[in-house]
């Protein structure tokens, strides 16, 4: 791919920049490719019902991937999100079903809104623990979040002894009904979870583009030393991204238990890997400093459509794994090629200026 640019004539420079534009749009191209492919080969792929169903699947991964994107842009990684999903689901389910037993004969029940807020808080607190481990105790992000992965999953299993909290309909007299709204409710024809995704995604994209904290996230990942020298409070930025990631995971925990109207402690197992894959597919650089929310969302759609489409075509789940892996590897290879090409093009522009 880079052979086109080894010579320095003007035409090659032009073809180099065309190639560069193509590479920059690769996630879009991949998205159109999978949609085109499955609309031909998978029956009913383009039906409204199927598109909405797929979007609901994609939304779950997209939430996690957005949180993951910020973390990866700062140069970190968050392996604990899958476990946070599981634990938060159990927290929500437990609160609706059993409330909090105060040990002297009283039990506190919260209404559904309070349950949701508490659950979100739990996610944020676990994110804060990650952040503290990484900033204050200098644990490498991979290890710190690997630790919380196990701890959170352990607590999720402990909370019910490994059992499922079933039938989260709630009781009207405790005003714990209505939990199903999150997972299966609709507003203006779209599922509620999609609306939440739109709101959170817009907020995250705004944050990345138009706020100081957003700029700081990129600066910390691009060059931590320079960021510190510029007076950016690096630790606060890192705390924020892990807390945001925990927040996103808590949303997913809520949505999944609401969709199923049950909480299972093993929910969310290995979700973190799908989230990382979506972020990387969307152009987030694992070495930090680069990435966009929009790209990540598209990346999540590519992965989600790929797996749903393959299921609809009746391809074995073993082959699905192989295909998913290849797509991710190709994405990163193209990403690297683009980086190199970009450098060559800028150098060439510099040379032309003299």
């Amino acid at each position: 791919m880079t052979t086109a640019t080894t010579t320095t004539t003007a035409t090659d420079a032009a073809s180099g920049s065309v190639l560069l534009t193509l590479m920059k749009l690769r996630t879009f191209i991949a998205l159109f490719a999978v949609i085109a492919f499955f609309s031909i080969f998978a029956p009913n792929f383009l039906s409204t019902a199927n598109l909405i169903l797929m979007s609901k699947h994609v939304a779950l991964n997209a939430f996690l991937a957005m949180g993951m994107t910020f973390v990866i842009i700062t140069g970190g990684i968050d392996l604990s999100v899958g476990s946070i999903v599981g634990l938060c689901g159990m927290v929500a389910g437990g609160l609706i079903l059993n409330g909090i037993d105060l040990q002297f004969g009283y039990t506190i029940y919260f209404n559904v809104v309070e349950v949701c807020l508490i659950t979100l808080a739990v996610g944020i607190v676990i994110g804060a623990v990650n952040g503290l481990l990484i900033t204050k105790l200098n644990v490498a992000p991979f290890i710190a979040t690997l630790g919380t992965l196990y701890v959170a999953r352990g607590f999720a299993l402990l909370s019910s002894g490994g059992q499922t909290f079933p039938n989260l309909v709630g009781k009207p007299e405790l005003s714990t009904t209505g939990f199903a709204f999150l997972g299966s409710g609709r507003l203006l024809g779209l599922p509620v979870s999609i609306w939440i995704l739109i709101v959170v995604a817009l907020a995250a994209a705004y944050l990345a583009r138009y706020t100081p904290i957003g700029r700081h996230i990129f600066a910390v990942g691009g060059n931590e030393r320079a960021a510190r020298m510029s007076g950016i409070r690096v630790n606060r930025v890192k705390m924020f991204v892990y807390m945001f990631s925990g927040f996103c995971a808590a949303i997913v925990g809520l949505v999944i238990s609401s969709e199923l109207m049950a909480s299972h402690p093993a929910t969310g197992n290995s979700f973190e890997l799908n989230a990382i894959a979506a972020a990387v597919l969307g152009g987030t650089s694992m070495s930090g400093g680069r990435g966009t929310i929009g790209g990540t969302i598209i990346g999540a759609f590519v992965i989600g459509i790929l797996s749903d489409g393959l299921v609809m075509m009746g391809i074995s789940s073993f082959w699905q794994m192989v295909i998913k892996g290849i797509v991710i590897i190709v994405a990163v290879v193209v990403d690297q090629a683009q980086r190199r090409l970009q450098q060559q093009v800028t150098l060439m522009q510099l040379a032309k200026k003299g």
Partner: protein, 514 residues
């Protein structure tokens, strides 16, 4: 032409030129290295000494010109290639594996093996101990390199170079971290090697050392060789003259203005070194508004560390900092910046810029709070206006501020770093080697900016290892050596010789202690 009296010449560079993207590091250099002699190379930072040596050691290839070894033209494709021809180099930055033992480092890539039974650690340690003993190093060959103080690490590097059985040994500032006693041992070893016919290339800033050990001396300035002589025929004055030259660089004339009240005072700044001793040794300095104070010093004199302490980069540093007469309580960098301090770091790439961000984002990175509405929303128009103003004021040649910052030349990148610091509206500007690695035109721009800012009442503290620069730009000149502030003199009273002498002061005292 000189072929007859050059019998003892082992390696010749003929008309060698090396160009990096946009910068000519070495131009048309001819250099001969003699067998059994110490060939000394001097020049200011950025004069091209290291580049020349990297060409000989096979790290870089010359853009033009040829290398003759024993009269035959050779081409080195890698350092290993050069090593096969008997060329060894001790780099200024140590190239050791901290996580391996001393013996393993010395024999890295040419491990002593026992066939299929793997590395013969015993033999390696034994032979390594031999080399180390020759240096009187007193280092156990089995300790990990990262556990050694920096001076001993340098000895390990030298032992490694000796172990290569080289015919040409290049030492790039080998004494910068050595104590006086260690320097004496090193010189003894150099004399031994010389007697064996090894050609030594010795690079150093310490003139008295050069006079002690050197046989032939070559002076470089701006990538050109400006002087070549036998050491016994010359004195330090000659060296300084060849180093600086007579043609003045384009320095901005000082604008006459009255100095204001005291704007900055540092009291008793201390920073312990990890390997013992103090990197910054009780430095106190005071600066008035509108004053430009230049700190001269050699590499490792503690100038950067002093600046970092002032900016709150080192948590275990001590001392007090005052801005406009009030003590700065904040200990972190963000607090120091809002107190009115700003630093332009020495290493632009590592500490000054976020390469992944655009020119515009880099400029406003430290001062985003100024463009914010409701506490979180960056007002695009306000930010844009300041960016345009900065680009205009500093004459940054940026065709499009949204391009990545790495798309510009070094000089313009430096201007971006300066712009970023100025956007925080500082009262005191610290500049660590502001002219390092930028071309002549950009240098002139930077100097003009410094003068203008001083005229506007900013207090500027800058460090440099360029004599001419410190003489031309400063209202007062401070000299640091080995972590200590040796002297502060007014420009009128300063002479080049005096400054050079003062910059070696700190090392003399260690000699007395030793």
């Amino acid at each position: 032409m000189q072929a007859r009296d050059d019998d003892d010449c082992i390696l010749r560079l003929e008309d060698v030129t090396k160009v990096y993207s946009g910068i000519v590091a070495v131009r048309h250099a001819d250099l001969s290295l003699r067998r059994g002699a110490v060939n000394v190379l001097v020049g200011e930072n950025g004069a091209g000494k290291s580049t020349l040596m990297r060409i000989i050691a096979g790290v870089e290839k010359p853009s033009l010109g040829r290398i003759l070894l024993d009269g035959k033209e050779v081409e080195f494709h890698s350092p290993a290639d050069a090593q096969r021809h008997g060329i060894g180099m001790v780099f200024q930055e140590l190239n050791l594996f901290g996580n391996l033992s001393v013996a393993e480092n010395i024999f890295a890539t040419r491990e002593l093996t026992r066939g299929f039974r793997g590395i013969d650690h015993g033999a390696q340690v034994e032979r390594a101990t031999g080399f180390l003993d020759r240096l009187d190093a007193g280092i156990d060959a089995e300790t990990l390199v990262e556990d050694l103080p920096i001076g001993q690490q340098q000895l390990v590097e030298i032992a490694k170079a000796i172990s290569l059985d080289t015919r040409i040994l290049i030492l790039d500032e080998p004494t910068s971290a050595l104590s006086a006693a260690e320097v004496d041992v090193l010189f003894k070893v150099i004399r031994e090697l010389k007697a064996q016919g090894v050609a030594i290339v010795y690079i150093s800033h310490r003139l008295e050392e050069l006079m002690r050990i050197g046989d032939y001396i070559t002076v470089l300035r701006d990538g050109q060789i400006t002087g070549h002589a036998m050491v016994k025929d010359i004195d330090t004055k000659w060296i300084v003259r060849s180093m600086i030259g007579s043609d003045a660089k384009d320095f901005a004339k000082s604008i006459a203005h009255r100095l204001g009240e005291e704007a900055f005072r540092a009291e008793d700044i201390c920073l312990p070194r990890r390997t013992g001793g103090l990197a910054v040794d009780h430095v106190s300095i005071s600066l008035r508004a509108g004053e430009v104070l230049g700190i001269y010093g050699l590499m490792g004199a503690g100038r950067s560390e002093f600046f970092e302490c002032v900016m709150g980069q080192h948590r275990h540093s001590s001392g007090r900092v005052f801005v406009d007469g009030t003590e700065v309580d904040a200990t972190d960098t963000a607090g120091r910046i809002s107190a009115g301090l700003a630093l332009i770091p020495e290493d632009r790439q590592r500490e000054g810029l976020v390469q992944a961000l655009s020119i515009a984002s880099n400029l406003t990175l430290a001062s985003l709070d100024r463009f914010v509405r409701f506490g979180f929303h960056i007002v695009g128009a306000r930010e844009q206006a300041s960016i345009e103003a900065a680009i205009r004021d500093l004459s940054i040649k940026a065709p499009n501020p949204d391009f990545e910052v790495t798309s510009m030349s070094g000089g313009n990148q430096q201007k971006v770093v300066i712009g970023k610091a100025l956007m925080t509206k500082p009262k005191v500007l610290l500049m660590d080697e502001p002219s390092r690695g930028i071309d002549v035109g950009a240098k002139a721009d930077v100097f003009r900016t410094m003068r203008r800012l001083a005229g506007e009442g900013l207090a500027i503290l800058f460090s440099t290892s360029d004599l001419e620069e410190v003489m031309a730009l400063s209202d007062r000149i401070a000299v640091m050596s080995n972590g200590r502030l040796v002297t502060v003199v007014g420009r009128a009273d300063a002479t080049e010789e005096m400054i050079v002498k003062a910059s070696a002061e700190g090392h003399k005292t260690t000699r007395e202690h030793a």
